[in-house]
């Protein structure tokens, strides 16, 4: 097998040909580079947090530093890694390819999204350098507006700016999916990856403005003393929580739906089976996106909101678990009667299935009102959302990266080493976060710099697990680097997968396809 002579990567080598490109594939690479940097910054903060928690006394860093570390970890990981992770990289690269299009609908807007993203990142990094921010990623008022002595305005401005990048990417994806599908590619023939990114884009466009507004109000109150959240000025501190979670709960689905899309592609390919219940999967994706908007109050069961609001939010939260459960059922049923190959992408996908299920079901435990009174704001919650965000989304992100790496780069990578990395992630993840469920049930609160002695053993286990997890993150950097340098050519379709992206060369040409492809059947035409 050999590489095509001209492709998007060798079409110009200058810095200018990258920084001013409107090619969605190159912009995807720019996102890869930026979010990988942010991932390691956020990861470093997490590592320091875990090291501090080895001992019950707060003895490695002081309390203010600790508070800034977990805040930086949350802010960077949520807005600068998880939200853009799959959409901005693989979504950007693959959506036009999967639709049979030459590019996204608005290529220049796509480039602008990256610049806005990077600008927001610079704001936030400046905030970190200028002494850090200590509000946690949630910016709760009135702490953030009146009491914190840290760089709140800078950090909030960074998140405000980066929101526009999300909105523009979402807009671009929605228009592209509506208007640029290849001949014959009807809605019910779309790969689930496209559906997942489409639903994610809808949430980005509808929810992000509310976050932007809430952050703007924080800046106004902090800088100008306008009483919105501050009770001394007649404001309402709980109003902020409503506004914040009106975005941030749907944002949880921004941070998981694309992962579901990736996993659907991988499982079908390596089980050699069409997806079980395609229609059910599409309905589930859209139902999750819709229901995601009416459950925000489950973050406030003990915050002083009305008792009956709590009851309603709990009810809807139970219901939103049903479509997610249907999806796990369908992925499992897809394996039935297949010819399953255990490549690295498949191991990531199966890890996702197990970890996401645990994350989702512990969400049901937290939705149970009386139990949440005990578990709210403890490590049980920390463990729960890391099972979704890391066990789910980061695992899917790595799975997708391993699945499409040959398409993106035209190169193969080490099979055995990638399997080692995938297993290290699964084992390290569980060692790190399972003990945190126990800690939470025992009553260990979140965001504690120092803690009572009886929690130490479980904290030590968690920190040791994080060491294994780090191997799972670092190893791919090594063999992917090697693959770029010395990897064997991958050929157009090394996994023998269906989907339009595999019908072009690896790496694809600048305009994706020589001839516009046509689609004549349903996706996942395996067997």
């Amino acid at each position: 097998m050999s590489e095509p002579e001209t492709h998007y990567l060798n079409d110009g080598w200058t810095l200018r040909s990258w920084l001013l490109t409107t090619d969605h594939k190159r912009i995807a690479w720019m996102y890869f580079a930026t979010i990988t940097a942010f991932f390691f910054i956020g990861g470093l903060a997490a590592l320091l947090v875990r090291l501090e928690l080895l001992t019950p006394a707060g003895d490695m860093v002081d309390s203010d530093t600790y508070n800034k570390l977990f805040s930086a970890h949350g802010i960077v990981m949520v807005w600068f890694f998880l939200v853009p992770s799959i959409p901005a990289t693989m979504g950007n690269f693959l959506l036009p390819l999967m639709l049979g299009a030459r590019d996204l609908a608005f290529p220049k807007l796509n480039l602008l999204s990256w610049y806005i993203f990077t600008l927001g990142g610079l704001f936030t990094m400046t905030a970190v350098i200028a002494g850090g921010v200590d509000t946690g990623w949630t910016f709760y008022t009135p702490y953030s507006t009146l009491f914190s002595n840290s760089a709140v305005v800078l950090a909030a401005s960074g998140v405000f700016v980066v929101g526009f990048s999300s909105i523009l990417t979402g807009l671009n994806f929605i228009v592209t999916t509506h208007k640029m599908r290849a001949p014959g590619l009807t809605w019910m023939r779309l790969p689930l990856f496209c559906w997942a990114n489409y639903a994610t884009s809808l949430i980005m466009v509808l929810a992000t403005p509310v976050l932007s507004m809430a952050l703007l109000l924080i800046v106004l109150e902090r800088a100008l003393g306008i009483g919105i959240f501050d009770p001394e000025l007649g404001g309402d501190p709980l109003l902020f929580q409503h506004l914040f979670w009106f975005y941030s709960h749907p944002a949880v689905y921004i941070m998981i739906l694309p992962g579901m899309g990736v996993v659907s592609e991988i499982i079908t390919c390596f089980a050699r089976r069409p997806i079980f219940g395609y229609t059910g999967m599409v309905i589930s994706i859209m139902a999750i996106a819709l229901f995601g908007f009416i459950v925000w109050g489950h973050h406030m069961f003990v915050a002083g909101q009305s008792l009956y609001a709590g009851i309603l939010f709990s009810f809807f939260t139970f219901l939103v678990a049903v479509p997610s459960a249907i999806k796990t059922l369908n992925w499992t049923a897809t394996l039935y009667g297949g010819r399953i190959r255990f490549t690295a992408p498949m191991i990531y996908a199966l890890s996702f299935l197990g970890l996401f299920t645990i994350g989702g079901l512990t969400g049901v435990i937290l939705a149970s009102l009386a139990v949440d009174i005990h578990l709210h704001d403890t490590y049980f919650v920390t463990a729960h959302f890391h099972y979704i965000m890391v066990g789910g989304m980061v695992t899917a992100y790595l799975g997708g990266l391993h699945f499409w790496w040959p398409k993106i780069t035209g190169k193969l990578y080490s099979g055995p080493w990638s399997i080692v990395a995938a297993l290290a992630l699964f084992i390290g993840f569980n060692l790190t976060f399972f003990p945190q469920f126990l800690l939470g049930f025992l009553g260990m609160p979140r965001r504690y710099h120092a803690y009572p002695e009886e929690f130490q053993l479980l904290h030590v286990m968690s920190t040791l697990g994080a060491g294994v997890l780090a191997v799972g993150y670092l190893l791919p950097m090594v063999y992917f680097g090697w693959s770029l340098w010395r990897g064997k050519p991958a050929g157009d379709n090394p996994w023998d997968a269906t989907g339009l992206e595999w019908r072009t060369t690896s790496p694809p040409p600048k305009h994706n396809f020589v001839d516009t492809p046509t689609v004549t059947g349903r996706p996942y035409d395996y067997v």
């Binding site: 709990s314 009667g337 710099h449």
Partner: protein, 329 residues
């Protein structure tokens, strides 16, 4: 005498949190049923994945079934969705009804302890006037109500052994109740991130037998009860001049107002809860009562959070007509 409880403090690696209130066992029963249901679902899923993975691995030459027919597939999906929905609604109903019981104030004349959170300590005051910081003494076998607020940022009062947590929100007066069962010492945590020393905003709950508690309260109960102090402050700050007796042409009477609807000059109606009473002291222009001129001055900056809470406690202790009866009219 309180020292006898010191050696029962939680120590060593626990695998189950202590149960020291009537609600702890109720919450745990629900928790373990939820864990069992979730574990059964996870194990079923993992079992199927492993079974299919071995049976249908690429290397096995076992004959492959032609896939699940569409009709059966739809039945599996719909059946799964329906089954889960029913199970979830049952669990929701259990959790929701227990929440209503635990979260709603039971009403009545309970032993009510005022709690004011601030960066980074808990200030508590018992009905007989006894004050303490970061330690809460309570008797067994009796329902205790906590009336909680904050004087700065949001905090959250958390007593794991009681499975009890309630946010302390500035301006709001939230209430929580419990009935302790096991004498001993238990953790008291702040569960809502509140700044630098959040993790040191910890204390302990000392649960005592009723006799020991009575002795403790006797020894430490100096000064007035919060309601009595509130009554004194009500006069000292000049509130009674307008709100009581002959002055009430300029301002509404306040005996029995707490918890009742108030018609406002703006046309709306609000319930006179703790937050309303507090607002009326600090931000009197926010809710002007119908039929009165907005003439009341603000007490912002002149009155402490604990004093406001005492006045609120006093107003909430009054019934309609109390002032008429006591003045003999």
């Amino acid at each position: 005498m309180a020292d006898q409880y010191l050696d029962t403090v939680e120590k060593g690696l626990a695998l189950h949190p202590a149960q020291a209130s009537t609600s702890a066992a109720q919450v745990d029963a629900l928790f373990w049923v939820l864990v069992a249901v979730c574990a059964a679902l996870v194990l079923t899923l993992v079992g199927l994945v492993i079974w299919f993975s071995v049976r249908y691995r690429a290397g096995s030459d076992r004959p492959r079934p032609g896939g699940i027919p569409d009709k059966l597939g739809h039945r599996i999906e719909l059946g799964g969705a329906a089954g889960l929905t029913i199970a979830f609604i049952a669990l929701f109903a259990w959790a929701g009804s227990l929440y209503l019981y635990l979260y709603r104030d039971p009403g009545g004349d309970l032993l009510t302890i005022n709690v004011i959170a601030k960066q980074w300590m808990w200030k508590l005051q018992h009905p007989n006037g006894a004050r303490e910081i970061n330690t809460l003494h309570v008797p067994t076998g009796q329902r205790v109500r906590l009336r909680i607020t904050s004087q700065d940022v949001i905090h959250s009062l958390y007593i794991p052994a009681f499975r009890l947590k309630r946010d302390a929100v500035p301006r709001l007066y939230t209430t929580a109740w419990f009935e302790a069962t096991e004498p001993g010492e238990y953790h008291l945590f702040c569960a809502e991130y509140c700044g630098t020393d959040h993790s040191r905003m910890r204390g302990k709950v000392v649960v005592m037998t009723p006799q020991d508690y009575a002795d403790w309260a006797q020894e430490n109960g100096e000064g007035e009860s919060p309601a009595r102090a509130g009554e004194r402050l009500f006069t000292a700050y000049g509130c009674s001049g307008c709100h009581r007796g002959d002055g009430t042409v300029r301002a509404p009477r306040l005996d029995g107002i707490a918890g009742r609807p108030v018609v406002l000059a703006s046309g709306g109606t609000v319930i006179a809860d703790g937050a309303y009473l507090r607002d009326s002291i600090l931000l009197p222009q926010k809710h002007v009562v119908a039929g009165y001129e907005p003439v009341m001055p603000s007490y912002q900056g002149q009155i402490g959070e604990d004093e406001i809470l005492q006045i609120v406690t006093y107003l909430q202790s009054l019934s309609p007509g109390d002032w008429i009866t006591e003045s003999g009219g």
